[in-house]
């Protein structure tokens, strides 16, 4: 079981993740969008969305530091475990709470603003569930995951991080991960799910953060393609002509 969970599943997730991204990039660029709902509602969005996104960046940064920087490095420069833990915990908590608050407000807005709720697909709902799940479980793991069920001290930097780094050299230290606490294990499994589904949800927009904006000229000239072969990626396209009227009460709600 451990071999499957911590030796096979990570690679499976990575395969789906990268394969999915490639597939979507190749075949469905038209669907690759934030699908913003700001047109419908902007008051809550203008507070909640930046709050969520910026806090998420901090969370992301925390993960990178925690997972990639070996403990003996920080030890070597004289940062004690207590110091590290305290900073990580306080910073992580602030960011975590802000993220949750942000996404909470976004979900509230989504649920209560009629047009926004109508524009919410099943895919979106599933995505929100997994995303919130990963966030909440992550907080739970941070808060309570430093003691095993038997009360022994547990430092994820000696288990999860070691395992995580070993994945990149294709010699997963399964035992290290197996020694971690259940909180971390569940968090990681949900994170797998999140990453595996990411290419297929609206979260893909995260992979086209337009950083090249800094480097491109303001004006863009493009020549018409020389052949009729269009550059369109042949995935989905615009909706059919016409706006279908919503059904009467009792019927199913109109789905695009």
């Amino acid at each position: 079981m451990d071999v499957f969970l911590w030796g096979v599943l990570p690679y499976l997730t990575a395969a789906i993740f990268f394969g999915g991204l490639w597939y979507r990039y190749r075949y469905d660029q038209f669907g690759w969008t934030t699908r913003s709902s700001q047109l419908y509602e902007s008051k809550i969005l203008r507070i909640a969305s930046p709050m969520f996104h910026y806090a998420l960046f901090v969370v992301l940064g925390g993960h990178l530091v925690g997972l990639f920087i070996p403990k003996n490095w920080t030890d070597a420069v004289g940062i004690s475990q207590e110091m590290y833990h305290l900073t990580a915990l306080s910073l992580g908590m602030v960011a975590g709470v802000a993220t949750l608050l942000g996404i909470g407000m976004l979900i509230y807005r989504r649920r209560t603003t009629g047009p926004v709720f109508m524009a919410t697909t099943k895919n979106d709902k599933a995505m929100y569930l997994v995303l919130v799940g990963a966030l909440v479980l992550g907080m739970w793991a941070t808060l309570t995951g430093d003691h095993t069920a038997t009360g022994e001290h547990h430092n994820y930097r000696e288990t999860v991080s070691v395992w995580f780094r070993s994945l990149f050299i294709f010699q997963p230290k399964i035992a290290a991960m197996a020694a971690s606490t259940i909180q971390f294990k569940i968090h990681i499994l949900v994170a797998f799910l999140l990453f595996a589904s990411m290419p297929f949800t609206r979260l893909v927009h995260a992979f086209t953060v337009p950083l090249h904006f800094f480097f491109r000229p303001y004006m863009i000239y493009r020549s018409r393609p020389k052949s009729v072969e269009s550059t369109h990626t042949h995935g989905r396209g615009w909706d059919k002509i016409g706006t279908p009227d919503r059904q009467k009460k009792g019927d199913d709600v109109y789905k695009p």
Binding site: F30, S37, M219, S223, R224, P256
Partner: protein
Amino acid sequence: MRVMAQVAMVMNLDKCIGCHTCSVTCKQAWTNRAGTEYVWFNNVETRPGQGYPRRYEDQEKWKGGWVRTATGGLRLRSGGRFQKLLSIFASPVQPKLDDYYEPWTYDYENLVSAPLSDDFPVARPKSLITGEDTKIEWSANWDDSLGGTAETLANDPILQKLRKDSAEQIKLEYEKSFMFFLPRICEHCLNPSCMAACPSGAIYKRAEDGIVLVDQDKCRGWRQCITGCPYKKMYFNHRSGKAEKCHFCYPRIEVGLPTVCSETCVGRLRYIGIILYDADAVTKAAAVKDEQKLYEAQLDIMLDPHDPEVIAAAKLGDIPDEWIEAAQKSPVYALIKHFKVALPLHPEYRTMPMVWYIPPLSPVVDLLREQGHDAEAPGNLFGAIDALRIPVEYLAELFTAGDADIVTLVLQKLAAMRSYMRGVTLRNERDESLAEAVGMTGKAMEQMYRLLAIAKYDERYVIPPAHRDQAHNLEEMGCSLEEEGGPGMGGSGPFGEASGGPVPVAIESFNALRDRATADTAASSESLRDRTGDTNWDGN
């Protein structure tokens, strides 16, 4: 000098009757899908009025276009690149649906399916956004023909500015006494701020004809272009999550047909042609310090297509001979640069717009006539243009960043043309002094009259097809149905057995329309079978 070609449009506002045919045909052709109900690539607004979306001209609020920096450069009014990326998670100044309007339909079905009762069944308005009953409170032309403006006129950003500028109070009654229509499409700017604002770089200007397009595959829905465009002609398709805009009917332009709005315009007031311009000079021209000099600056970068130097440079820039010829015959060039009667809309936004307008003389003429004067007598009209400060200043705020002298001169030219041509028709006399008074010749008056009043189809539209060696490929956009093994390849087509491959729409319209129009007999139903849409309805 780097010569580039631009497809441009001029609209003669005197002739617009505000019928909205252009808006409707455009909508039927291009924005007829869910997500674009509120999108009007072409809209016609009544001025004075708030425009669409409401008060879009108030750039203090909407932050569209460019501003000149202290060092003489250009900056997006909505902020630099860094600021834009930082605020990407919630666009700070995007118009909401309220600023446009909530699109609706009617519950027509109730009319036939309502159970028998004493009351007549009604078709209640339903929001196309929520599907619920809705109260219709605004639309894309709610204040059409000054309707309800007693309530809303004070919100017109231009009137507000005029009122602020003049010490004395302009009475609303006076303002109400003039009115005209302003049809608007995307300006296909030479220095588009929508493009500059797009973080993804999805918006581009076509090198061949200058049409500004959004790559639907590259757009990620960051919405910065909507803030960026000062004319608010960039729209967000809320279903697909992508920006959409007027694309100058490029599939039609490529085969030499005018845009749908032009083709169907009842007043026949739109002109389409090629302008050659110096692409290297654009940024500098757009950064001229004095806003009122921007009109001149833009005129300066438009090149004379008869100048041998320009022609040589154009050839060097791979502009086909046909296009250079078309630029020489361009009605748009004639109106903008030769006769100098067309003016840009809001040059002070510094985007170098390429849809220009001949300001309307009719508000002045109407006022004169109402007061019992002979509106065509030269003395009367000239005097009236000077005396009627409000309409002129209003037009100046729209077209010349407030320089009333330019507008006055244009109106005088139009007035002189009327008087001159009246002399020709009534008394067969050619009063050169009238022409001279506005710095023109009698011959030029007659040429201008021919272009503005007679306005023959092939003089209004001089559109060279896309370059010849590609033309055979350009009969229609690449259609996935035509691919090997696609449903359009033999067997039963998408329209049933034996319907054949789909006929490219533009070709069908053009050729079929011409054939039908020149035939001696009524068209058979067979030949009408592939007709799509009714924008070219001709009685058959």
